[in-house]
């Protein structure tokens, strides 16, 4: 009896960990992508890209709400080492080639990851319906830039990180879809200087008032 209970508890803990990773990925990529609001290469794209960033944050919030009563507290009040996001989304990418390459790689990885979670994630179908437009957008850019060396080089550079977004058993499929050979992945669990800086900036206003203050 105890064995079943402890295995059940372990599964629940794993599930929470996986969902937290998903939510943290969406939060951080949404955060990173929202940095382009106002400075994207063309105004029309700026508007579209900002919607994608907002959707990602909306997804993060929906998943945080499954895991905790206070989504904001879960989103903001952990220390950097407690986040479960993949290194891919933490990278601070200041040029469009890398940013759009990351978008594209992330969307393919995310599709695989969400499909696998469909049964355990009540909001998976809703998220997926919004992601359809993200994928169209990413594919549109991929089509247009695939012969552009800057884009190709950026995708190759980010590829090990992209592999770290999905579970090891999902990497073959990711490799097939993006047509890049599998390499050694940059796994979750690394939170470097850039992430610490991101967390500092993300929480500076919030930390300026006592916990529970209204904003």
């Amino acid at each position: 009896m105890n064995e079943h209970l402890s295995r059940g508890n372990q599964r629940m803990a794993d599930r929470a960990e996986t969902l937290l990773g998903l939510a943290d990925d969406e939060l951080v990529i949404g955060w990173r992508d929202s940095e382009w609001t106002g400075i994207a290469p063309m105004l029309e794209e700026d508007v579209a890209f900002s919607s994608i960033a907002q959707n990602e944050i909306g997804h993060a919030r929906a998943v945080y709400e499954l895991l905790a009563d206070d989504a904001d507290a879960l989103a903001f009040d952990r220390s950097p080492s407690e986040y479960r996001c993949a290194p891919l989304v933490q990278l601070h990418l200041l040029d469009w080639a890398h940013t759009i390459a990351r978008r594209w790689l992330y969307e393919v990885a995310d599709e695989i990851r969400i499909a696998a979670l469909r049964d355990e994630l009540p909001v998976a179908a809703k998220i997926d319906r919004e992601e359809v437009y993200h994928r169209l957008h990413a594919e549109m850019w991929h089509e247009r830039l695939r012969d552009e060396p800057r884009f190709h080089d950026a995708a190759v550079e980010l590829w090990p990180y992209a592999l770290g977004v999905v579970l090891p058993e999902q990497r073959a499929e990711l490799s097939t879809r993006v047509r890049l050979d599998e390499v050694e992945a940059v796994e979750r669990g690394i939170h470097d200087e850039a992430f610490a800086a991101l967390h500092e900036e993300m929480t500076m206003v919030r930390r300026s008032a006592p916990a529970g203050a209204q904003w």
Binding site: W31, S34, E35, T37, G38, I39, A40, P41, M42, L43, E44, D46, V47, S50, S51, A53, Q54, I57, G58, A60, R61, Y64, A71, D72, A75, F76, D95, W96, R144, L145, E148, R150, E201, M202, M204, V205, R206, S208, A209, P210, A213, Q214, W215
Partner: protein, 296 residues
């Protein structure tokens, strides 16, 4: 075709002008300059606000602020399209902007320092802007008047958001209240200058051509009438001891520093150079994307 006097009478009588109509060169030139400045302002207005997207203290505020800034970029897109159809390509507008050859509104030359600024800008700066924008719904140049409908509709969300941010803070901790008051103290001067110095309507070419349908002082009075009572009812102070509503309903106030306004809009504001340099950097860095995407 070209009868400037007849055209003047036409627009002064409420006539509307479309992109393919004949128009006097002076009208076209003034229109381009005015509308371009609006587009530049939307684009530059993004910069003081986008830092705070990254620092928003809740998910809801982050989303709302991102959406607000997104709207401003959207407005810039609508506005530059109108300018382009009048004859000045967007690339030239952007080049003139980053080269310091074109103007944008005073308020976007100033720094933002705290989350209090976020509230004050969304609530009061956008309020000042919406007053001008509502008057532009009657612009004689129809394509511009039409985009103003969408712009005004979206701006109304911004003011709601701004008010909500302010209300949360003025009913929060004493420190949060102070953040708002301190931000208001800094923004009041630029706000009072925002609508421009009070030249009589008939001496303002923008009004003569019915590009603007409202004089500068009229706009400022509307702002004061609408928003000073709202500011006071929250227990906030306006940093102008002379500010009062006289018996005939007009607001009296300390004369704004028109030299400061001129100095700032001609490119000498505290943040002008830094922000233009920031824009220039990204424009240059991402030129290749333009070439890759927009070349046939």
């Amino acid at each position: 075709m070209g009868d400037e006097q007849a055209f003047l009478e036409y627009v002064q009588g409420g006539g509307q002008v479309e992109a393919t109509d004949w128009m006097p060169d002076e009208y076209r030139a003034k229109l381009i300059k005015f509308i371009e400045m609006h587009g530049n302002s939307e684009l530059m207005g993004v910069l003081p606000e986008r830092e705070w997207i990254l620092r928003a203290p809740t998910l809801q505020r982050k989303l709302a602020l991102t959406a607000k800034v997104q709207d401003e970029v959207g407005h810039a897109q609508l506005i530059y399209r109108v300018v382009e159809d009048l004859g000045k390509p967007r690339e030239r507008c952007l080049a003139d902007l980053v080269d310091g050859k074109a103007k944008f509104h005073n308020v976007f030359h100033y720094p933002t320092r705290t989350w209090g600024d976020v509230g004050v800008i969304a609530w009061l700066v956008d309020a000042a802007a919406i007053i001008s924008q509502k008057a532009l719904l009657k612009c004689s140049y129809a394509p511009y008047a039409r985009i103003m409908k969408k712009i005004c509709w979206e701006e109304s969300f911004h003011i709601l958001h701004g008010r909500d941010v302010i209300l949360a803070m003025v009913t929060g901790t004493p420190e949060q209240f102070e953040l708002v008051q301190e931000a208001l103290n800094r923004w009041w001067g630029p706000l009072m200058q925002f609508h421009g110095n009070p030249i009589p309507k008939d001496e303002d070419p923008m009004y003569v051509w019915r590009i603007k349908s409202q004089g500068n002082e009229e706009a400022r009075q509307q702002f004061l009438e609408g928003y000073v009572p709202q500011i006071w009812e929250l227990g906030l102070a306006v940093p102008d001891p002379s500010l009062r509503r006289s018996d005939d309903g007009t607001w009296e106030y300390t004369e704004p520093d028109w030299n400061e306004l001129k100095h700032v809009v001609t490119g000498h504001g505290p943040k002008t150079e830094e922000r233009l340099a920031f824009r220039r950097r990204f424009l240059e860095q991402e030129q290749w994307v333009h070439d890759a995407v927009l070349a046939a």
